[in-house]
């Protein structure tokens, strides 16, 4: 039986990039995977067909801790509803764009520890949002 949330047939973002499908399948199960280069050993973001740090095509999907720290953030006060645009630096190295969720928009600070919280995009794939570290 086909797992409905892993077909992605209604998500053109996933359909356009078959090489990133493994990421979205893991995300649907609540797991954050990172592309790690087998030649230089570094993780990069966003996932792509080559290592942008050394040019190698030998990449391995690797489970990430899901932990990181707030690098920068900007509360969108005029938006309806309000939200917090952010860059989070993962413990594995790369910095990614995200939104900070699970706390008031004034409750954030640079350097604050956060953890991934998957939430669906409007097209259906699970996206890595970040919230306060719990437990």
């Amino acid at each position: 039986m086909t797992d409905e949330k892993k077909t992605f047939e209604h998500d053109p973002f996933v359909a356009a990039f078959p090489e990133t499908r493994a990421f979205w399948e893991a995300a649907a199960d609540g797991r954050l995977m990172l592309p790690v280069c087998e030649d230089c050993g570094r993780a990069h973001w966003y996932p792509r067909a080559l290592c942008p740090l050394c040019g190698s095509e030998k990449l391995r999907w690797t489970p990430a801790s899901g932990r990181g720290t707030v690098h920068a953030f900007s509360p969108a006060r005029r938006a309806e509803p309000q939200y917090v645009l952010a860059y989070v630096t993962l413990d594995e190295g790369p910095t990614l764009m995200t939104n900070l969720v699970g706390a008031p928009i004034d409750a954030w600070s640079i350097g604050q520890a956060v953890q991934v919280r998957f939430q669906p995009s409007t097209e259906g794939r699970m996206m890595p949002f970040f919230g306060p570290v719990t437990g």
Binding site: F13, H44, Y46, S74, A76, R77, L85, G93
Partner: protein, 389 residues
């Protein structure tokens, strides 16, 4: 010292309109083209090279070339957002130097104001086949949000203050009061800027450039043509351009492509920032003036906030006269693209044709620099250095 150059700016024109609901984008391109050619003392039939960018109808040179009925030997439609026209100058100089053409026309125009565009605050979803789109579109990033974060990081890393950032806008407003065409002509104080409403924390309304309809054009020509025209001669002596990427996730929100494009332009020109009499630095946001001035070498990294404070960018007051037309922050930002107006004001300064109250005395060397497009923290960047002959 006399530096040899293969390209001269012989015509420059900034369309006076800031709101043009009853004109087409093609008409604004054409009016800008004719204005720059009149300024040069040339006509459409003299043009054998044409350049435009993504703002042109059809986003390629063919359609405006047809509208203007140009007879071309050379063209280029390089699209790198707001800095396209500065990058174009470098390409034009190479084409003129290698004899591929003799007179190059560059045009820009657009109508974001009359179409009600919310340039900085609206989330504009990227097409799904762009490689970063799947990873970022859900997070509703806006231009204001990205530059809000750039501002926050600079304040965090270097101690830059909101007051220092406000001085950038104050300098632009002090210049714009003398420009009869400027959209915002009221001189502002640091307190005025600080009190303007927050757009995307810590970015305030007055940290942002204006949204205007309008256009501009430049005409570049080979040296023998420049010498045949009855205009002050401005030559292109140094150019650089680059793409500043997100570095595979190892980005730095406090650095710009000006590090590379500026270094290349200064090296080719054989001059240093201390030699520059006037600087046009694209002011899409106040923070970008501070970071670019650092990256161009006008001050050390992290010192930009202190450098711009206390009126240091105000002509006749500070050490570096900057954006004396009022810049994108107060004067004009046609089609959300500030590159061409930066070159135009640099040419005015070198010719002694700036507004008298802001004219730099004996202006011989001028710089025009700016970023283009936004891709998370990434962007294109171009720098041009001009010299009056």
């Amino acid at each position: 010292m006399t530096r040899s150059a293969s390209a001269y700016v012989v015509g420059a024109y900034e369309h006076p309109t800031r709101l043009a609901p009853d004109k087409s984008v093609a008409q604004l391109h054409a009016e800008s083209a004719l204005g720059a050619l009149r300024d040069a003392g040339l006509s459409l039939s003299d043009v054998d090279g044409y350049m435009c960018a993504g703002d042109a109808p059809g986003s390629a040179p063919l359609y405006m070339a047809d509208y203007l009925n140009l007879k071309l030997r050379w063209y280029d439609g390089t699209e790198s957002g707001g800095c396209s026209y500065l990058a174009h100058i470098q390409h034009a100089a190479a084409a003129l130097a290698s004899g591929q053409c003799s007179v190059v026309l560059i045009t820009l125009a657009g109508k974001p104001r009359s179409s009600g565009q919310a340039t900085g605050t609206a989330f504009r979803p990227p097409p799904f086949d762009r490689p970063e789109a799947a990873w970022e579109s859900t997070f509703r990033w806006t231009i204001g949000g990205v530059y809000g974060m750039a501002m926050q990081r600079h304040m965090h890393q270097y101690g830059t203050t909101l007051e220092q950032l406000a001085w950038v806008k104050v300098a632009a407003s002090r210049h714009a009061q003398h420009n009869p065409h400027a959209l915002l002509r009221k001189p502002l104080t640091v307190e005025d800027v600080m009190a303007s409403p927050i757009i995307s924390d810590p970015l305030r309304r007055d940290d942002c450039c204006v949204i205007t309809d309008g256009g501009g054009a430049l005409v570049l020509a080979r040296p023998e043509i420049a010498r045949s025209l009855n205009r002050p001669r401005v030559k292109v002596i140094g150019c650089g351009q680059t793409m500043n990427t997100n570095a595979g996730g190892y980005l730095d929100l406090t650095r710009t492509g000006a590090e590379r494009s500026g270094a290349a332009a200064f090296a080719q020109a054989g001059v240093t920032p201390a030699d520059i009499d006037y600087a046009s630095v694209y002011d899409n946001f106040t923070i970008m003036v501070i970071t670019q001035l650092e990256d161009l070498g006008f001050c050390a990294k992290g010192e930009g906030g202190r450098f711009v404070a206390d009126g240091n960018l105000i002509s006749g007051v500070g050490k570096l006269p900057w954006n004396t037309d009022g810049g994108g922050l107060c004067n004009n930002h046609p089609m959300n693209r500030g590159g061409i107006t930066k070159a135009i004001e640099a040419v005015r300064q070198l010719r002694g044709e700036a507004t008298p109250a802001v004219q730099v005395k004996d202006c011989r060397l001028a710089l025009a620099a700016g970023p283009g497009m936004v891709l998370g923290a990434g962007h294109a960047h171009a720098t041009v250095i001009f010299e009056r002959e």
